[in-house]
Symmetry: C2
Subunit: 190 residues, 2 copies
Amino acid sequence: MQLLKERILKDGKVFPGNILKVDSFLNHQIDVDLLDRIGDEFYRRFADEGITKILTIEASGIGIACETARKFSVPVLFAKKTQTKNIAADVYTAKVESFTHGKVYDIIVSKEFLHKGERVLIIDDFLAKGQALIGLIELVRSAGAEVAGCGIVIEKGFQEGGELIRRSGVRLESLAIVDSMGDNGNIIFR
Amino acid sequence: MQLLKERILKDGKVFPGNILKVDSFLNHQIDVDLLDRIGDEFYRRFADEGITKILTIEASGIGIACETARKFSVPVLFAKKTQTKNIAADVYTAKVESFTHGKVYDIIVSKEFLHKGERVLIIDDFLAKGQALIGLIELVRSAGAEVAGCGIVIEKGFQEGGELIRRSGVRLESLAIVDSMGDNGNIIFR
């Protein structure tokens, strides 16, 4: 998605350790006009998939998921992160390892809102090692629902998440795939 | 807002301890068409306030803030909750006590995204004791920016937050004010 790539080049900031900060427009401050266009693009790519629900994970996926869901006229469901030891019986749960924060947490969704027969589009802001996305896919399948696809705003193409997901047969669409980031701040897209 | 009140009566669930669950349409599963109408209503009420930014707090405020910001054509900024001991120098911070979760946490926003001269509309899903809202107001004022108003989807009118904020001179608009909830699930609006 050209508009997004231009925005990443203009406002994204590269830090040592392959960190790409886009918090001026995507995941702290949010440019809602850009999100609206991102929603259009996801709709263009997944319009024929019979999507019945958008699933994302708190917090930075929520805005993107809402703007996308509006295009499909379907509800959003966002998974919650928890470190509570006692997981209630009325939720689906999966374990996710966060490399950014160096911990393992559970993600949960209420069983009330995910059902057999649904076709779910999973939306998130970033894909790197793919742990959060694999957890979300697990939640959908626990409910007997189907993963119709995954839509990612920025994929770090030099990490293994994208390949893992695609090899597993899930349709994955990333609007910008970053293949490398130089220490000089240089960003190369696939 | 009549549409919202009807939805609360239809899909809200009352639990002992004055708990009102609206997670089928507002803060777990999200009805984005309703959010779009909520955005229209906040725009109607605050259109003349010269709003330059919408501030909210993760996670359940984000969707509401995005749909509202779209009407104003301004960016969203969401405060992050953290329990990190070391707060960085480049953020504004405030302490918030959560009675729901029984703990105190810091909320932070990057100094980069909140400036003197801005007129900020603060948006959140719930207002009860008002601690989160007071913290958000503090963040805005730390930046030398102005609180143009607060827009709340559901205010628990029988708790003190609303009165605290209004008495302090801040313009507060709640789309539904619940004055009492009976153990029989009966909800009375102001």
